[in-house]
Amino acid sequence: MQPALLSEENQVVDIILISIGLLVLMSLAIVLFFYFSRKKIIKTQLEKAALEIEYQKELLQNTIITQEEERKRIAQDLHDAISSKLNVVSLNANLLSEKDITAEEAQKIGNSIHKVTATVLENSRRIAHDLLPPTLEKFGLQAAMEELCEEVDETQQFQLEYSIHYPEKYLSEASELHLFRIVQELFSNTIKHAGATHIKVILNTQENLVSLRYVDNGKGFDSSLARKAKGLGMSGIEHRTQLIEAEYVLQSSPGNGIDVTITCHPQHEN
């Protein structure tokens, strides 16, 4: 074999080997790229999942706190409005059982017992009503919302404007209760914290869409900070909107009141 041919032959072999080497290097680069990307993507997914879990935990904690507060309030109500009054009844009944009592006194005590039991009855009715408004169960969301608005309006603290259009049983019972509680909570927030003079409540039903809008002109708050410094009430509302798979938009800034819009689709419900 001539030397020139030999070198040509070697060159071809070299080129082939070098090309194979380069291809392998490229493949290795692709494999490494894949593994690093995968690591990063899985890390991001894990972080997201951890955040989600953290959020769920926070919600759960808030739910428990709200539940405890509610129990405390009910206990307080029962004690103030029923137990203490029944004590008076019991004392009066004791007096009645004494032998040296005049008919006039007995009459007086009887009247007192009658008056107090009437108050107790009224109070227990009110407590039960607060816990679960019978109107909602018997006559549906439209009637219950109207009743709620009338009750709030009767306090004469605000100028209340409301418009409720909701066909009977359009959403499931659970969703109706959630919507009702949300409005209750919004009212209670406005009454407790906002110092508003004007409230507007609109519940509207269009094709496949139930939308609730609640606007007040109270103090408002910084809605960008709301996530961190969220009071129990607002997180409860958000939680409820998640349960009924509704869209929840909260707009608020200090001094400008709040504007809440909740939209839900009946087909999202199970």
């Binding site: 082939i16 080997l17 194979i20 392998v24 290795l28 692709i30």
Partner: protein
Amino acid sequence: MLDFVEYFNNFLVLASVLLPCIYFISFAKSSRAYKVFTLYLLFIAIIQGTLFYLNAQKIHNLFMFQFYFIGQFVFLSLFYFELLKKKWVPIVLFLVLGVLALQYVFDPSSFLAYNTMGVILTQSVVVVYSMLYFYKMLSQKGSFLIVNNGIFLYLMASVLFFSSGNLLLKLNLSLETMRLIGFVNDFFYFVFIILIVVEWYRNFRPTPLKV
């Protein structure tokens, strides 16, 4: 050096025959992808064994190469069909087989020659499948990632080796140079085998039931 290459080659043949044996251990209770892959290993073992026998008998064995790359393409296509779950994979399989059939019909002599076009076509398609599997696995967990690495690396390396086959044969290289180039291919095949064993050991070896 030549002796070592010879021994290494024989070792690879032995390893190729042993691979389907270990994969058969968990055959019954595994996924369809696993079964297809085991059949692929069995096919490779048969090819390697036959090549070894033909070599020993000094019989011309280039035609076996056709079976090798076409069979490899069919099995790996079915394997990736199970992994990727895409309906177009069998369509591509039939298209490529159609192209190869046409080639053999119009040029029957290519059956006994070194089919560069066929090798490049089939191996590139499988490399594309393995890239797609990488992409699919970016955000999820799944088996056969290690094997996928092996297929990707080995096919990328060997596509050039096999496609330069005609050129190498024409050059009338010395036996030593041919063996050296063969050794480079064998080395990547060895890496491929190791990755297949690692995959089996990590994901499919029988484990005692934990109570």
